[in-house]
């Protein structure tokens, strides 16, 4: 912690939005602190979503969502190059099943044109069948939006955060915002469980909790985040795969349940959409599974529950903010603003889908808002836009693997048998700019434990490595935080059979 807790800017929330903001703002001569309440950055909504970089035809024309989505989409190639995360742009498809759905494609195509989405075209049922042999034979046509892409959303978040750290940003995890500190109507700091930090500006990037933060600031008292839970199922790539990103024709309320390939090669299906109140509820349910499979089978009928290797659920931070553009009756828009009723606050909220896609444009937009608000942003001379990725054994050639092991023998020991993640990679993550301190943190960074055995093989080995590198007992090692320890006591100690 630097500057005795005094910063220019404090970002509240370390999801993809907070981390991207940190990265974009690290370009300027500002002292920046990012706080995250969880044990790791990017571990909530940013770690559990559909992982798609959207073209922008879905968002209501005239909304801030549409504007920032379409602005952000072309930024991703450069961003992926600088931050060195997994990103592929092969377009996405909205697939009409049966003649009745064809008319909806025209509507989407028109909306895409209105939003300024480039590269959209209608493809025939035959073309769709040839590009995706598993598609429902009743396909009647599809939109192919060439600017669609897929990414590793946690990979994006950690890359942005590391780049921010390399450029001087301080990140504190397990740091919970409690209240603002005021000087009359100006925010001059925040109170947290780890003490007080001062700042000139605080940025609300709290995702699911953005409503609570803005209410503490006395802004938008009617704003409410309603978590919308979505369940997902990951299919084993050795059993079943699709080649593309396949959306159903959307309904009025949802983009629907999609079937999509991922940058890891596994196919995922989901999400359903269930509005809930509990912001911690990420449970999978039987009814959710039935709903997701039914939806997915509409696009790809031979999807089989037997091919599932992992399940997860994510919460979208759905808001109720009215669109600011006159004449557009839309009440779930993004909020990205510098409110006038208080000073020192940059307020974000309702950043649900396409929030991941829009993240770089949101960050850029905040920079512009700050400039407009009179912030004198001076570029650092030595700002480095590049975050170097660490070697991933499974993506290297045999010769590259050999050279890596010769340099560091720990890369020779494969710890995760399904995804071929090595001890070297685990150790590197434990000692990285934002150290991985839990099993899940290592899993998200290396993709270990995500394969067919779901960690059954690697778990005892990873807890051993974590304990050794952190200099603690294996009993201290946890799945996600201090309350989620794996083990309870040594086998031979008190409490044995009497």
């Amino acid at each position: 912690m630097n500057k005795n807790g005094n910063y220019d800017v404090i970002i509240i929330g370390g999801g993809v939005i907070g981390c991207m903001l940190a990265r974009y703002l690290s370009r300027y001569t500002l002292d920046i602190l990012l706080i995250e309440k969880e044990s790791d950055i990017g571990s909530v909504t940013s770690a559990a979503n559909t992982a798609i970089v959207h073209p922008g035809y879905d968002a209501i024309s005239g909304s801030l969502k549409a504007k920032l989505n379409v602005a952000a989409n072309p930024m991703w190639d450069n961003l992926a190059g600088e931050l060195q995360f997994a990103f592929q742009r092969h377009g996405d498809y909205v697939v009409a099943i049966g003649e009745d759905e064809l008319a909806r494609l025209d509507m989407l195509l028109q909306r895409g044109k209105q939003n300024g989405v480039p590269g959209m075209q209608i493809v025939s049922a035959d073309v769709m069948r040839s590009r995706e042999p598993n598609i429902n034979p009743a396909v009647s046509g599809a939109i192919w939006a060439t600017s669609g892409g897929i990414c590793d959303p946690f990979g994006v978040t950690i890359a942005a955060a590391e780049n921010a750290v390399l450029n001087g940003v301080t990140i504190l995890r397990e740091t919970v915002f409690e209240d603002f500190i005021w000087n009359e109507k100006r925010i001059v700091g925040i109170k947290t469980n780890r003490g007080i930090f001062t700042c000139r500006r605080a940025i609300n990037a709290a995702g699911l909790f953005a409503d609570a933060i803005m209410h503490k600031a006395g802004v938008r008292p009617d704003f409410k985040i309603t978590p919308r839970k979505g369940e997902y199922f990951v299919l084993d790539r050795t059993d079943f795969t699709v080649n593309n990103v396949l959306f159903p024709v959307p309904s009025d309320i949802s983009k629907g349940i999609l079937v999509t390939t991922t940058v890891h090669g596994n196919t995922i299906i989901g999400p359903n959409a269930q509005n809930i109140e509990d912001k911690e509820n990420k449970e999978n349910t039987k009814s959710g599974m039935d709903e997701v499979f039914e939806g997915a089978k509409k696009l790809v009928p031979n999807i089989n529950p037997r091919h599932v290797i992992a399940v997860f659920a994510g919460l979208r931070a759905g808001g109720n903010a009215a669109c600011q553009t006159p004449g557009i009756g839309y009440s779930h828009d993004f909020i990205v603003e510098i409110p006038t009723e208080v000073q020192g606050l940059v307020n974000l909220g309702g950043i649900e889908s396409p929030g991941l896609t829009a993240a770089p444009a949101i960050a850029q937009y905040v920079v512009e808002l700050l400039k407009d608000a009179g912030e004198k942003l001076q570029e650092k001379k030595n700002w480095n836009p590049v975050r170097p990725a660490r070697p991933q054994f499974r993506h290297l050639t045999h010769e590259e693997c050999d050279a890596l092991i010769k340099k560091d023998a720990r890369y020779g020991r494969v710890v995760c048998r399904c995804e071929n993640v090595t001890e070297g990679e685990i150790v590197a993550e434990i000692h990285s700019p934002i150290p991985a301190l839990t099993y899940d943190a290592i899993k998200r960074r290396t993709w270990l434990g995500t394969g067919r055995c779901q960690g059954g093989f690697d778990m005892p080995r990873v807890t051993e490595i974590l304990a050794r590198e952190l200099g603690v007992s294996q009993l201290e090692i946890s799945k996600k935080n201090g309350a989620s320890k794996f083990l309870c006591r040594p086998t031979k100690e008190d409490g044995g059979a009497q």
């Binding site: 040594p490 086998t491 031979k492 044995g496 059979a497 009497q498």
Partner: protein, 121 residues
């Protein structure tokens, strides 16, 4: 176990077949039927008069590859005293190297049954 019960059925564990033995008791006499082989008769007699089980557990080891050494009873151990045996083995610690079959404890709980190492370490 209800000792007044004259007829009962037990599952033989002498081998993986799991034969369901019918047992009739007449004083000290144990009559066995439905056994797959003669080991069933031995098992039933033992089970009625002196039930025993093989016991396998671990003890602490110093200087070994792992912190625990697997061990087992050389012969089946009185069932009623298994918990005592486990408790007494909790305080045992051995020093590597150890060979498979090596006696770790010569006379467990004065039963005359030795405890053996299950592997080299």
């Amino acid at each position: 176990m209800d000792m007044n019960l004259q007829n009962q059925q037990i599952i033989c564990v002498a081998c993986p077949k799991g034969c369901r033995l019918n047992i009739q008791r007449d004083g000290d006499q144990v009559l066995v039927s439905n056994q797959g082989c003669k080991r069933g008769v031995e098992y039933a007699n033992g089970e009625m008069k002196d039930p025993r089980r093989m016991v396998a557990t671990t003890v602490r080891i110093q200087g070994g590859r792992h912190p625990l050494l697997p061990v087992y009873t050389a012969t089946p151990f009185p069932k009623a005293r298994i918990k005592d045996l486990l408790a007494s083995l909790r305080s045992v610690q051995v020093q590597a190297p150890v060979k498979e079959g090596q006696v770790i404890l010569e006379n467990a709980l004065d039963t005359g049954i030795p405890i053996l190492a299950s592997r080299d370490m």
